[in-house]
Amino acid sequence: MILGEVLGALVANTRYQGLEGRIFLIVQPQEADGKAIGDAVVAVDTVQAGPGDRVYMVLSREAALALEPWFVPVDHAIVGFVDSVDLEEGG
């Protein structure tokens, strides 16, 4: 799982079966200190996040398992909101 910040939404009217009604969001993966990691990705939302929200995502096969039905072509899913990240002093 990784942290990220929601940058915006993506509209796709034609989609694979099982993904009807799902919201796709553009998410910038981040380090714990907020530094960006690589390029933005498209993730399916499960927690009703929106632009500007700090969230965490699960990647790979487990992203699809966050959804119902779960046998869908998804590799990034937003699974929680970040209220705060409490880092150790000097960490």
Partner: protein, 98 residues
């Protein structure tokens, strides 16, 4: 599995039901010499580890589902051990990487 250090905790109130009841940690991956290597990621705790601990992290979903005893679960990274000591021959020589 990877070696990592628990850097801190993530506070999250609204989350997927599969994450309820698990502490969520920020993990810094380490190499055998316990030097930070790679980008931080998140993992759920199963062994009552704490911030500052060197830990063993599994980053593979099927093993996670076995441990959590769920057939369908969207957790992928799990802290499965607290590391007491690492004895490894590093690229710098044969010194023990304590």
């Amino acid at each position: 599995m990877v070696l990592g250090k628990v850097m801190g905790t993530v506070v999250s109130t609204i989350k997927h039901p599969d994450y309820l009841g698990h502490k969520l940690y920020v993990i810094q991956p380490l190499n055998a010499a316990r030097v930070p290597a790679g980008e931080t990621f998140l993992a759920c705790d199963t062994v009552q580890s704490g911030v500052g601990d060197t830990v063993l992290v599994m980053r593979e979903g099927n093993g996670v589902r076995q441990i959590l005893q769920k057939e369908i679960c969207c957790v992928r990274s799990l802290v499965v051990g607290v590391v007491d000591e690492v004895d490894a021959h590093t690229s710098r020589g044969s010194d023990s990487a304590q």
